[in-house]
Structures are given as structure tokens and as C-alpha cells.
Amino acid sequence: MAAEMHHSHFSIWFYIGALLTLYGALILGAGIWQISHPPAGVVLQHLHAGIWWGGFLLAAGLIYLAAFRPRRS
């Protein structure tokens, strides 16, 4: 899985990792903000799904970034 783009300089998984990291940070931040500003009409708000899912995406993204970071050939 490491060398997905043979002629390119980085792996598609690295790119996905960067996007997941960014999304994870955004969703985690929004989830933390919702502790003090709970949205109306959302069921199970007390579970703070944004925090858990944002944290998971952030962790997954960082793992992908580390595992598929560009290396000198």
C-alpha cells in the first residue's frame, strides 16, 4: 500500500491522512464548542459524538500521515 503513485512524490494515503487530520481537528473543535453551545434538535447530544468522532478522525489522520509520509528514494 505504500507506493500508490509510482511516479509521484507522495502517496494518496498521505493525502487522505492530511485531509482526515484537518477534518478531525475541525470536528473535534466544533464538538468542544458545542459543550457550551448545544445545538437545538440534535438527539443524543449528551454523548458529544463530535468530540469522539473528531478525535478518532484526527488520530487516524495523524497515523496515516506518519505511515505514508514522503521519503527520499
Binding site: 493525502y15 485531509l19 473543535g29 464538538g31 434538535g41 438527539v43 443524543l44 454523548l47 459524538a49 463530535g50
Partner: protein, 604 residues
């Protein structure tokens, strides 16, 4: 797939926050950025149309699956699950996974070894030019039509969910897809599809997880559905299929097993170039075989993000959703809105943006699949043989080509293909890459035109779905007989495909103008539209096979030497060499098949 375009009541279901807009905006930038970056790798025809045949099994497999996971797939099957219950899972477990495994284990070697650029290209090698032309023309028309209808349906969904202007949704999404596919070709489409696959799962799975927590797990879900809908079986896969009247779909097991499992799904997953093109881009035969098997493994779990939200809607929504016609008349919510409703129920800011991004990603992956497949079929199966043949004839008149070279051009002599043994037509590879880019843009523009055209027709979606099914069901009979039976002839393939398609069209017309015909086509007057489609496909497949066999037996066979690399029994498959058990495609296919068996038993 069951959505109609009649949902014209603009009711805004969701409100986005700034963080949601940022998430959606980042997604568009990410897809475009990938397209611009990959432009440098799309220099030759092989690069542009087949991604250089460099894709690993994982990339090709996830792309193979994502090209099918359009927003219509997500929202349509969630709607179907609310309407028909867990029976919708059959479209995944019976209707997709076995066909994908069959493609990987049995059919892929022939597609891959023939080095064809497309499915019509394989038909040309196996049956000759007329069958290729019939197949390519139908596919090109279907592709842009379906792409346009998907585009309009998606824009309508965005209007209903978010209040977005329809033209804004159509043009922004279409231009984005056109840019990244035209720049990077299939490689860009494939890498973006992998990205979209990840986002679809990341955005959609939240609904299912939170929904299951909400109802107290699977047991709680079943109990709530039974309490809400007493006397109706929404939670068993097979128990209600003994008769036409014991299930919400009005179908019995023969329609599911033969119409769906044997004809429709095998036709779509093994011969529709939209998905097969992704696997043809694999770097070697083993990767090409593993790609659909990996995709099948993930496909097994897709009901978790598509069917389960529909079932959760049955259990937790405080009102009952209704059919589209009734919804339009009364202002109630329709089946088609179950996924947005569940999204609004469980997702706050941030997660909502991710969910909307998942739907947009689904739309764009489906559209990019259609557009890249259209560009390839147009360039290699329509433009190249027709235009180049005309150019060759003109060149012959002017004395620019030798008679020998002209005799080898498509349509002027023996069956030829693009396997490397064919003399290059008098156009450079660069010319075909340029044609691929322009046909991508033209394909998107025609799709946009189709999207505006279908706004005038409330039920055009039904017609397009029917058109799509006309060709796919008989095509499977044509391809599989060509691959597995060396006695099949060019005339047999052509007439089988043509009569199979005509049979499907005739039955559709018969039911449309005389609903009583349904009792004969689908064996029951209780059959719903989806059940009728299954039996229509079954009959057209049967007619295709019968005509192909009979005509082939009445016409002289092709010499076996011409069938090398194309047909079972005439092709020496490459030795896999020393390989550990877990590296063999059939090993993983067996594992997925076992999962399938156990899943069906558990939800029997």
C-alpha cells in the same frame, strides 16, 4: 436507485454552520488540488485512459466500489430500506458481492490478458466490430444520460436539504469533476474516488452508530419496528420470500435469486465499463483479481451505512414517511428524505458538514466514473475506429497509406484490437489524449444539458433507470458466453445482444401501456416496480443466451487460434508461481463468500 425526480417541494431540512461550510470548501479544494497535481502524470493514452496500469489492488478496489457509491446509491437505498425493509440488503449481498467475486476469480484474467481498454473493446476482439459498436453506442448514451439525471437529482437534494440553488449545485459540482478528470484522466478520477470512499464512510457511519445507540442495539431496533408496523416483516432477508404477498416488495425468491442475483447484478458488476475500467487500471493480473475481491469485502458492509439508516428511520422517526406522490400532495416527508432526516437528527455542526460532504463526494465519484468511462469509450471505441477508418480511406485515395496498412485498420479487414499487435492508426497518442480531455468536457456539458432537460419530466428517472437496465442484463449473457464458450460466434454475440435488449424494451413497453402484462412478466400482479425490473432483466438475459447459442450453432465457428487470450479453454492463464495461501485471490474470495453465507443465515 429508487428515487424519483418528483420531489419538487422545496422544504429546507438542515442549516449549516460556518464549520460545515469550511469542511465542504476544503473538500472541493482537495479534489481540485489532486487533479492539478496529477496532470503531470497523464501524458500518454495509457496514462490518461488506464492510469498507466499502475494501480495497486487496494486503490483499484476502493475506486471500483466508490464509482458505484453515488449519492443516489446512498439516498436511494436508504429510501428503499424504509419502504421495503431489510430486503434492500439483497441488492448488496445477493446482488453485488457474488458478482464481484466472480469478476475477480473467473472473468478478470480474460479482461486483463486481452489488454483491452474497455468492455466494448473486449467485445470487438471476441465478436467483431458490429457488436462493439452496438455496445459502445448504447453505453455512451446511457452514461451521459445517467450522469445528467444523477446531477439533477443531487442538485434537487441539496435544494431540499440546504436550500441551495439548483443551477449553483449543478455547475459547481460539474465543473469541479470536469476539471479534475480532464486534467488527470483516469488516475485523477481513481485517486479522487479513493478519497471520496474514505469521506463517504467517515460521514455516513456516524448515523448508524448513533442510531443503534439510540434504539438500544439490533434487538431494540427490531422490537421498535415491530411495534411501529405490526404484522409487517421488515427485518428478515428470506423468511418472507416464499410468496409474493408476504413481503413489502411483492417479490418471491426466484426474482431475487435469478433476476437480481444471476442476471442484473452480474450484468452490472462484471460488464458495466463504469466499474470494470477501474480494475483494468491495476498494475498486474493478481492486483486486477484482488481489486474486486477487496471491493466485495467492503461492499458486504455497505448496508451498515445505507440500509441501517433506513431501518432506523422506521424505528425512531415520530411520523411515517410516505411515497413521493403522496408527499408532494400532502407536504409530508417522503421515503427519499430518510437519510437527510437521520442526518439532521443525530449530527450537530461539524458532523453535519462531514455528512453533507459524504453525499457530495458520493455524487462526484459517481459522476467522475461516468465521465471517465464515457471519455474512454468515445475515444477508443467510437472515435478511433469510425473517424480513423474514414481518414484512412481518404488517405488511401490520396495515396498516403499503403493498401496493406489500410487493410489492417478497424472495420476494413480482420478483427483487430488494441493489444499491441495492431498497426497504429495514423494519429498520434497525444491526439487521443487530447480527444480524451475534450470528450470529458463535452460529456460533462451534455450531462449538464441532460440535467436541465429532465427538470421538465417528473418521472424521467424511472425511464433512465429502465434504459440502463435494457442493456446491462443482456450484455452479461453476451460477455460470459464469449468468455466461457469458444463455439460462440460473432453473429451469435451480435444477435443475442440485440434481441436481449429488444426483449427488455418490449416488456417495459408492454407493462407501461398494459399493466395487466405485469402478471405475466413478473408472475404476479402484486409485483412492485423493482420486482418488475428484476423479472424483465431475467427474461432479457434468457433470450440473449438462447439466441446467442442458437445463432452460434448455425454459423461457422472462429478458428481457435483467433481466440487465444479471449476465451476459456483457448487461453493459458499465467502461473501464479510460488504464493502463500493468503496471497491467493481465491482464498480471500472464499472468506468473503463465507461472510456472505453467515450474514444471510443470521438475518434469514
Amino acid at each position: 436507485m429508487t428515487m424519483t425526480l418528483a420531489m419538487a417541494v422545496p422544504v429546507r431540512l438542515l442549516n449549516l454552520h460556518p464549520v460545515d461550510w469550511v469542511i465542504i470548501g476544503v473538500y472541493f479544494l482537495a479534489t481540485l488540488g489532486l487533479g492539478f497535481y496529477l496532470k503531470r502524470f497523464a501524458k500518454t493514452g495509457e496514462d490518461f485512459f488506464l492510469a498507466g496500469r499502475q494501480m495497486t489492488a487496494w486503490v483499484a478496489g476502493l475506486s471500483f466500489l466508490a464509482a458505484n457509491l453515488s449519492s443516489l446509491e446512498l439516498m436511494g437505498w436508504a429510501a428503499a430500506s424504509y419502504e421495503y425493509g431489510i430486503l434492500a440488503t439483497h441488492w448488496y449481498w445477493i446482488g453485488a458481492v457474488p458478482a464481484m467475486l466472480f469478476l475477480g476469480v473467473v472473468m478478470m484474467p480474460f479482461y486483463y490478458i486481452s489488454k483491452t481498454h474497455s468492455v466494448p473493446g473486449y467485445l470487438q476482439l471476441r465478436y467483431g466490430e458490429p457488436t462493439r459498436m452496438l455496445s459502445a453506442v448504447c453505453f455512451a448514451i446511457m452514461t451521459v444520460l445517467v450522469s445528467g439525471v444523477n446531477m439533477y437529482a443531487m442538485a434537487l437534494v441539496m435544494k431540499i436539504m440546504l436550500g441551495w440553488n439548483i443551477s449553483f449545485s449543478i455547475w459547481v459540482s460539474a465543473i469541479t469533476v470536469a476539471i479534475y478528470v480532464a486534467l488527470g484522466g483516469l488516475r485523477s478520477a481513481i485517486f479522487n474516488e479513493v478519497l471520496q470512499f474514505m469521506l463517504i464512510w467517515a460521514g455516513a457511519i456516524v448515523i448508524s452508530v448513533l442510531g443503534l445507540i439510540d434504539v438500544g442495539g439490533w434487538g431494540g431496533l427490531v422490537a421498535r419496528i415491530h411495534a411501529e408496523f405490526p404484522g409487517q416483516d421488515y427485518t428478515h432477508l428470506w423468511r418472507g420470500l416464499g410468496s409474493f404477498t408476504a413481503n413489502p416488495m411483492g417479490v418471491n425468491w426466484t426474482g431475487i435469486v435469478f433476476g437480481l442475483g444471476l442476471i442484473t447484478s452480474f450484468g452490472y458488476w462484471t460488464t458495466d465499463f463504469l466499474v470494470v475500467q477501474r480494475v483494468l487500471a491495476a498494475k498486474d493480473l493478481r492486483s486486477a483479481q484482488m481489486a474486486p475481491i477487496i471491493a466485495a469485502g467492503f461492499k458486504f458492509f455497505v448496508p451498515f451505512i445505507v440500509v441501517l439508516p433506513g431501518l432506523l428511520g422506521l424505528a425512531v422517526l415520530p411520523y411515517h414517511l410516505v411515497g413521493q406522490t403522496q408527499a408532494s400532495a400532502t407536504g409530508a416527508y417522503s421515503f427519499n428524505e430518510v437519510l437527510p432526516l437521520m442526518l439532521a437528527r443525530y449530527c450537530g455542526p461539524g458532523l453535519l458538514g462531514l455528512g453533507i460532504t459524504a453525499l457530495i463526494a458520493g455524487f462526484m465519484s459517481g459522476m467522475a466514473g461516468n465521465v471517465s468511462a464515457f471519455a474512454t469509450v468515445w475515444t477508443y471505441d467510437l472515435y478511433r475506429p469510425l473517424i480513423e477508418r474514414r481518414a484512412a480511406r481518404r488517405g488511401l485515395i490520396r495515396g498516403q497509406l499503403s493498401a496493406a496498412a489500410a487493410a489492417d485498420l478497424p472495420g476494413t479487414g480482420d478483427i483487430v484490437g488494441f493489444s499491441g499487435s495492431v498497426p497504429e492508426p495514423p494519429r498520434s497518442d497525444k491526439h487521443y489524449v487530447s480527444m480524451g480531455r475534450w470528450s470529458t468536457i463535452v460529456g460533462v456539458l451534455v450531462s449538464i444539458g441532460t440535467a436541465y432537460f429532465v427538470m421538465q419530466f417528473a418521472s424521467i428517472m424511472d425511464y433512465v433507470q429502465a434504459l440502463f437496465s435494457f442493456f446491462i442484463a443482456p450484455l452479461f449473457g453476451t460477455v460470459i458466453l464469449g468468455m466461457l464458450w469458444k463455439r460462440t460466434t460473432g453473429a451469435g454475440g451480435f444477435w443475442g445482444l440485440l434481441t436481449g435488449t429488444c426483449t427488455s424494451v418490449s416488456m417495459w413497453l408492454a407493462i407501461k401501456y398494459n399493466p395487466a402484462a405485469l402478471a405475466y412478466v413478473a408472475f404476479s400482479s402484486h409485483a412492485q416496480a423493482m420486482a418488475a425490473n428484476l423479472y424483465q432483466a431475467l427474461w432479457s438475459g434468457v433470450v440473449c443466451v438462447l439466441v446467442t447459442v442458437l445463432v452460434s450453432l448455425a454459423t461457422p465457428p472462429r478458428p481457435e487460434a483467433e481466440l487465444t487470450g479471449l476465451v476459456y479453454g483457448c487461453t493459458l492463464l499465467p502461473d501464479e508461481g510460488e504464493m502463500k495461501l493468503y496471497q491467493r485471490p481465491w482464498f480471500w474470495a472464499a472468506i468473503v463468500f463465507t461472510m456472505l453465507f453467515i450474514g444471510n443465515l443470521i438475518l434469514w
